[in-house]
Symmetry: C2
Subunit: 285 residues, 2 copies
């Protein structure tokens, strides 16, 4: 994990906060400019990189621990959609001058917790100072059987569409944060808010995704992402919203305010896996 | 290569400019959220990520083609120092609102030229919009024989220090750009300016680096980077500046102004490989 001259004040923080979570052997305890992984022979390495920016993808007042966890999880969600087992990740941090040690400490703690929880250790990265907003770029690596990574372009006529969990919770959670006030029980509100705050990467679908013709993670809303997948595959399709899985909280809200189904079906941040599967595949998905 | 909602205007540009240079089979022609590589069985994959920021690491008026080439080459230089053969790279572009199609076109052209020249194709990436300055983050991948990646921490007492080319040219080139006016021939001036503008990644040292106990690329100045390597290895060392390779241009300048040797030895942007090698290794380095 190299750091540029202007961040010499951060060097100690990197050693203090990031070195302890760089548990991958190829991280070389962040003593080097580069790192390495040793993929199991005969596997493909899935690559995913996603950047999030302060003021665009998260808010300055957001808890640093949650920002870190979300930054990692949005990448893990893509690995999940590709049937990949996490190997590790690289972190690029572009830090504004006013970054506080307390913020970095909380950020590193959140990152370390999720790295351990999802078996995806920090392998290396780069820190630079920026006159702009905090920018976090993560590149995550995963392994899949050779040629087994499901792509977006191979959905076929007749396939059934599956999602790995309930749809719309995060978008409804965001609506709550923005002031919507439906009649929900406290636990229902908490469920929606939590689903917005932290994606749950659906790792562990590897076996099921072998049956998928096409798969992707739903991050920009079910309707839009499904349209993208079908268009990329050159097929048409239909989503029956009566058959789409909604949480108890979402169902309660939609029952009271039917228009909420549009938020649920088109809002983003679901981070569930969408897959197109042959109708005769015996799937417990 | 995913792009966020705010960049839908850029989608066409990505398809037009980046898809043609995404020649790696695992890039899936940038139709997917993820990409993959298939490492040769029994190899390690070297990972290197470096970010450069407008106004910090390059200037707004710099030619977009050169910015792209430098962004890729600083990563390739690290692969070279690790004895790695390039496999490909991921690109994260955080684009300010005012990015012009012309800029992106030139950027992609420069990137494509170097990707081809160095056998390191684009595999994927992410584009986001930012309220801050243009930020370019590249992650490059290379392959090495298992366990063969030379690290920074294993220099030993008695090792000899080698560099892969002349030292100080880039720092002197920067001094020229800042207004220094030594008595140099036009070709000497051009040499120094060019060495500042574009690093030459010293790929192809793989065989030689097998004999290295420690190696790193010199990006922050020979003296400082050498000190880092020796400190990380827990050894002391000495650089004999009379034995350090300098270009004809640098020698001419230093002969006229002896203080210029300090710029040459401590300035940055050399992007040569520094290696510590056992004295009995038969090296034609």
């Amino acid at each position: 994990m190299a750091s540029d001259d202007k961040l010499s004040a951060e060097d100690r923080l990197i050693a203090e906060y990031f070195k302890p979570i760089a548990t991958h052997p190829g991280a070389l305890a962040l003593t080097d400019d580069a790192a390495f992984i040793t993929p199991a022979p005969g596997t493909d390495v899935v690559l995913k990189t996603d950047a999030i920016i302060g003021g665009v993808h998260f808010f300055a007042e957001d808890d640093a621990r949650d920002v870190a966890r979300k930054a990692l999880r949005v990448n893990l969600s893509d690995l999940a959609a590709k049937g990949a087992t996490p190997l590790g990740f690289l972190l690029v941090l572009a830090l504004p001058g006013e970054s506080s040690p307390g913020w970095l400490e909380a950020f590193a703690r959140g990152l370390g917790e999720d790295a351990q929880a999802f078996g995806c250790p920090l392998i290396g990265g780069d820190t630079v100072s920026t006159p702009g907003p905090l920018t976090i770029s993560i590149t995550a690596f995963g392994s899949v059987a050779p040629g087994a990574m499901p792509v977006r372009t191979q959905a076929r006529p007749g396939d059934r569409l599956y999602v790995s969990g309930t749809i719309g919770d995060a978008a409804l959670g965001l609506a709550l944060r923005k002031g919507a006030a439906p009649a929900l029980a406290p636990a229902q509100r908490a469920h929606l808010l939590d689903r917005y705050l932290l994606p749950q990467p659906r790792l562990g679908l590897t076996a099921a995704l072998r049956f998928a013709h096409a798969a992707m993670d739903v991050s920009d809303g079910l309707v839009g992402d499904c349209a993208k997948m079908l268009r990329a595959s050159g097929v048409g399709g239909e989503i029956d919203l009566r058959a789409t899985p909604f949480s108890d909280a979402a169902r309660t809200w939609i029952a009271a305010q039917p228009a909420a189904i549009e938020i649920a079906a088109t809002g983003g941040d679901d981070y569930e896996v969408l897959a197109a599967v042959a109708p005769d595949a015996a799937l417990d998905f």
